[in-house]
Symmetry: C2
Subunit: 813 residues, 2 copies
């Protein structure tokens, strides 16, 4: 192995690794080279040919999962000459044995069917023809204007969806809690502490929780499982360049919307903010494509935007609009999208994203202000933490306290993440049945209601009426003119509770109440995230943080009653920031969102940042943020910011995958057909200067995608019948089938066209990015990420293929 | 020419363009090939070999400006064999004639000596050795911590400098205006309108203007001319990747600080915000390098950060800290830096930048709050527009009005830019003398004072005392208990005037006052920007905008007195935004800065964005933003966001520069020495597989920089004496001479070492980015910009050099 690598030397004198005879010698008797397909293999522990075959390149819409990667020797077309010198000994390959059975560093992971987006623009001849036709100023202006219109639409529609969800949740929640309030009033006799009967309200409460939660969980489980959770990890992955199946469909949006309404109304410990962001992404993908897969409807508009590149740019705007609508934070929204997506800072794109965000916030303001009867657009965002009446102030000596809060947040957050991951692993292992998942959601909902009821029943925390912060002050077991502070915490949506913790006057709760509430909510939220329901994790995290932040301030004030600076709302805010930093670690956009939603003065950014950084650093010491953990658990091949430390000293030759299946610039239709049937890679180098069929020894002149090859076969774009198709074939021919390319199985047998040839020079991308085998991995990683690549060809000094690097080669060791 | 290009075909079969014989045939008798230097040339109008030689690659610290690019045939060392087959006919080259006299598309521009930054990390063997040694977790953690410390220092020191400048300006201005106020009081007899004698105050005013302005202009002109103007174009260029000589030196900072103080105190129509940003950049560059060129002092710290890559990352943070300190807008500061610099979104870098920004704002808060006697850190930013007391509200029907204001701003801004450019052209042409430049500044200052005095003298705008917004309400010719509203506008710094226009109650000024004020200030600011003084353009632009915004509101209210919505402060704000959008067009960061400084509600972002976008679009129709105009006027090779439209249909082969001077992997010291003396390119491809001396036909295996070659020669790093230097040579050897690499002239003659050879394999960057001649320019541009390249090698299908592309090849047509 070492010898083999040495052959790909820096001096580039030798390119013997392309010689199958050498390979065979090196690799010993286990090696088999199938000359007639230009394929060879060797026993290389570090190569990962199977990786791309089995994982990244597999598209389960297109290919059977169980089709082994056998190179069926019998199917070799008779017109392809077998290379005599090296191939003769390989003719009697055992057909039953798969060619690729190499050990691979990634094959071990049971990786689902994720693909990369083709973010790279394929600048083939057809594309250039289109460009040339449209070089006119007018066309590019028109395309630009349409782009702007789409972005504005994204902003408006995302906001409208957010409003709809919000209003429905608010209406239903209000009815639910009003009913419960009345039920408590009727069933609990006033001033008669001996007859504490909460049973009937408890049963009602259970009913109001179980029914919506069961409905939502069933929808998610049976109709669209991808809608489970907050959706932020999925949107993050998509923006990072990973195609998650069904993530941006309208059906997904519908299920998600209903799912989040039922879950929040059902009283689960979760928020609606994550799903809002997902909704924005779906809206963007839907509008920009001008067609819907769910409704099998093509509006025949925006056809020019039908590729991964344009679509992802729109989804960027959609995600930003979603964040803006959810938090009322347009700059935060823009940064959220950028933080996940922007490998290249394109000013125009960011400008459009910002406008979509601002329009989204504005639309939401109008609608919700009208709904709430405000006439001055002062309603901002769904997650409205409420502006602080007086500017928050702080003293120098509080900075260490904020840091301690940050450290606490980091510790609690790391523990939460770890606990949640364990619970989810347990779930995955012991609850595989669908009905079990629905039942589990119901059980957690019941647990929440029961714990709340127990707290209300056993804790006696009565406060005088008058400065009550809730709409429904429950008297319960309190005296007249008093209300129950515990019930006040529980008898509203989690969001309203965060607001209460920020803005309630000092002394609104007992220390015991808040302590128990913190613990209960911490456990509940941990059990909830990972259920098969649509729910975000932002609100419960902020709520837990606000609770313990306020609690710490109260405790300290109890010990040092002279400490006047201990404004409980301020500490609740810092606590929320610290807890969010500890759980999410989203860093930049999170900081900006917090700054925007709370509307604090610029001078208060510093305490917030201190808490966030401390929390993030402490948390990072233990584990990763909850979104990243989710992404890892699902084996999504997400690219990190920097190459993993294990890759630091490596070279391209250490991570590349080979052998590489190549295609000749003029190749036979039959070879292409057979090859597509046998292997399911997604990118094939196009080579030239090939002796016989030793394709992998040719000089690289381009790269072609599987989807393009299938279209070529489907539309019979052969050299022999060029006069028929050439006039009407354009780049649009390929765009029309986007995004669901047909499978190779949909191509009929090439009986009469078996001798036809395909000239790829018109279709291939002639400018693939190429690197050398001795280039360092950090550098390659930078190129890969900055340019949003899917395939990176590794060539030797003579421009012959040495291997291929894909996204997955940078992930897991 | 066409035939020649056809040889570099897509099929890549032929690489005949590397054959000098073919070239000579194609190019005809004018062609001369200097075989012994591996150089050849042909009469190609589109090649721009001379470009790099004359402009981009020229470093005037290193090289004579007037040294012609003659390949002196006499100096050919005897030990280098002349290639007989093609070279013999070329031996008698006329020595007096420069080899490179090709027409070039860029040679026409009288381009100053700008170079690119070497942002690309040179991953040579030495670098990898260092990496390997430091692969330990501990080292990388240490480096990370030091980076954080530097960023925090940048934030603090930038803020302290900003504070110092601000406090000095405030103190001096207060004294100046108090003195003038008293002088007016003494010299203008009360209630005696017949005896309107403003002469003595006028003379005092003149004196207080002329002295500081003359002093400042003289300093700028005679000591450091680069400090003229706001500095933002220079910082922008630096962040974009262009090395502007002397831009980040401590001397520059000192002159700039004194310059801005004198100019603002002198009463010129300019602000101190631009210079603050420049100051931040200087601080960052200074601190991060741990040495000062101005003081010839090396602190021997932060040695690992001595390269263009690290330095630019720190300057990014410095610029952000500067913006934050100037405007009190940390998020805007971060975005400002990103907008100009971030070709690659590195989360850690942005995180550090944000922290530097927030710390800068915080430090400034502390110091200025203490200075102003506030104990709650409520002083935010130097450019404090003042928070609006009540949240700004607006109605739907105002949106078109905002748009009209935006269009007005765009028109006025475009006119301002155009006028200013004309004035500056006039200046450049007719005022070449240094003393003339100083006098000009004095004249403009006198003009300002005179116009102000005339306005005060002739306009009778008296307002009742009591709601006066200024510190020095001048009674002047008014009745008792009244003050002069015109004098109030003029008797303060421009910044305070902006604040007045935003927050003064309705009816504080006459329409005539404001109309005249707008016109006068518009003309004054236009005449001021471009003077040889250190001044920013932000404040006067905002001031003009606020003035006409308020004026429009007043006019409309005068016509429709029932229009209650016409809050003059609101319209002043929108007017300022529109005018800023029209003049600067900075778009994203400007929007965010405005949102942050005015502290408006999220709901008011929408009107601001409408005004900004309308202004930008209308302005863009006519000309470019003022900063970009300045950059263009100075011929700075700044890369745009997208390739220029003229480049849309082109291929790499249409823009590449050739011939390319190459070096063999093992080349003679003498050849390298001679080559460095003869040509002043900065990057040389390293080639291998060379037949004889036909270097440009070798296979590319790396790239080496001029600076590296000079260090190699200076330190005698030859193969023959390897045992002496090998142990102690590391990447630090090269870093030590950064950033002022010695000139080739500092290398002694190689008398005894004339036969020594240099092995470049250890020093060269083995992973240069390479593209093909048929790759499209937009794609190449994207690669170039995303990776922050300086040299991009164009290779043919056999990995032999076809040309080189540098920054300048993307600019000007």
């Amino acid at each position: 192995m070492g010898d083999l690598k040495a052959l790909i030397s820096i001096d580039g004198e030798s390119s013997a690794e392309d010689d199958p005879i050498v390979i065979q010698k090196e690799a010993g008797p286990t090696s088999k080279a199938v000359q007639d397909f230009g394929l060879y293999q060797s026993e290389m522990p570090s190569t990962s040919a199977v990786t791309r075959g089995m994982t990244l390149s597999r598209n389960n819409h297109l290919l059977d999962d169980d089709q082994p990667l056998i190179m069926d020797n019998n199917s070799v077309p008779p017109d392809i000459p077998i290379n005599g010198s090296a191939g003769s000994s390989n003719r009697n390959i055992d057909n039953s044995e798969p060619i690729f059975h190499l050990r691979s560093r990634t094959a071990a992971a049971s990786t689902p069917n994720y693909e990369s987006l083709d973010y790279e623009v394929c600048e083939n001849t057809l594309f250039q023809d289109e460009q040339r036709k449209r070089l006119t100023e007018r066309f590019s202006l028109r395309k630009d204007i349409i782009r702007w219109i789409i972005f504005i639409q994204i902003g408006i529609i995302t906001a409208l969806i957010a409003c709809t969800i919000d209003i429905i949740i608010e209406e239903l929640s209000r009815r639910k809690y009003t009913y419960l309030y009345n039920s408590v009033k009727e069933n609990v006799p006033l001033s008669d502490a001996s007859d504490r009967d909460l049973l009937i309200p408890y049963l009602y409460w259970l009913l109001f929780s179980i029914v919506p939660v069961a409905f939502g969980a069933a929808m998610v489980t049976y109709i669209e499982p991808i809608t489970a959770g907050s959706g932020i990890p999925q949107v993050k992955s998509y923006l990072n360049g990973v195609k998650i199946p069904r993530i941006v469909r309208i059906k997904t949006l519908a299920v998600k919307a209903i799912g989040v309404i039922t879950s929040v109304v059902g009283g689960l410990a979760g928020g609606k903010e994550g799903p809002m962001i997902h909704a924005g992404a779906v809206v963007a993908a839907g509008i920009s494509q001008g067609k819907s897969t769910t409704f099998v409807k093509d509006f025949r508009i925006f056809k020019a935007f039908r590729d991964d590149h344009e679509k992802r740019d729109f989804v960027l705007g959609g995600g930003a609009a979603g964040v803006s609508a959810a938090f009322g934070a347009p700059i935060g929204g823009m940064l959220f999208s950028l933080e996940e997506a922007a490998s290249f800072w394109n000013q125009n794109l960011i400008w459009r994203t910002l406008v979509a965000s601002i329009i989204s916030v504005f639309t939401l303001n109008i609608v919700l202000s009208a709904y709430h009867g405000l006439n001055d657009f002062t309603f901002t965002g769904l997650f409205n933490l409420g502006k602080f009446d007086t500017p928050l102030k702080f003293d120098y000596f509080e900075l260490p306290i904020f840091m301690i809060l940050g450290v606490t947040g980091g510790l609690l957050g790391a523990a939460w993440n770890s606990l949640n991951t364990k619970i989810n692993k347990f779930r995955k292992r012991f609850i595989p049945w669908k009905i079990g998942k629905v039942l589990e959601a119901v059980v957690v909902a019941m647990m929440g209601v029961t714990l709340a009821c127990l707290m209300i029943y056993f804790i006696n925390d009565c406060r005088p009426l008058g400065n009550d912060p809730t709409n429904n002050p429950v008297q319960l077991f309190c005296e007249d003119n008093e209300y129950n502070a515990v019930a006040a915490l529980w008898f509203q949506t989690p969001e309203a509770t965060v607001r209460s913790l920020f803005h309630d006057p000092p002394g609104s709760h007992k220390i015991l109440t808040l302590a128990l509430f913190t613990v209960v909510y911490y456990v509940l939220s941990c059990a909830t995230f990972g259920l098969n329901v649509s729910l975000g994790v932002f609100i419960p995290t902020a709520l837990v943080g606000a609770a313990w932040g306020r609690l710490l301030a109260m405790l300290t004030y109890y010990v040092f009653p002279q400490a006047e600076f201990l404004h409980p709302g301020k500490y609740a805010l810092i606590g929320a920031a610290a807890n969010l930093g500890g759980v999410l670690r989203m860093t930049i956009s999170l900081s900006v969102i917090l700054m925007e939603t709370t509307g604090v003065e610029t001078s208060f950014f510093f305490p917030l940042i201190i808490a966030l950084i401390s929390a993030k650093w402490v948390g990072d010491y233990f584990n990763e943020g909850i979104y990243d953990t989710q992404i890892q658990v699902n084996h999504v091949p997400m690219l990190t910011w920097e190459p993993l430390p294990q890759y630091k000293g490596l070279k391209a030759r250490d991570i590349l995958s080979k052998p590489v299946v190549c295609i000749k610039l003029h190749d036979s239709a039959h070879y292409i057909y057979q090859m597509l049937k046998k292997c399911d890679h997604n990118g094939f180098p196009v080579v030239d200067d090939v002796r016989g069929d030793r394709r992998s020894e040719g000089r690289v002149c381009g790269i072609i995608l599987r989807s393009q090859l299938i279209v070529i076969l489907l539309k019979s774009l052969y050299v022999e019948n060029k006069r028929f198709w050439l006039p009407e074939t354009s780049i649009q021919t390929f765009r029309d089938v986007y995004p669901r390319y047909p499978s190779i199985k949909s191509v009929r047998k090439l009986d009469e066209k078996i001798n036809y040839t395909v000239d790829l020079s018109m279709f291939m991308n002639p400018s693939p990015i190429r690197v050398n085998p001795h280039d360092s991995v950090p550098r390659i990683f930078q190129i890969f990420r900055a340019l949003g690549l899917r395939h990176l060809l590794v060539i030797n000094n003579e421009n012959r293929i040495a291997g291929i690097i894909t996204r997955r080669d940078f992930i897991y060791k």
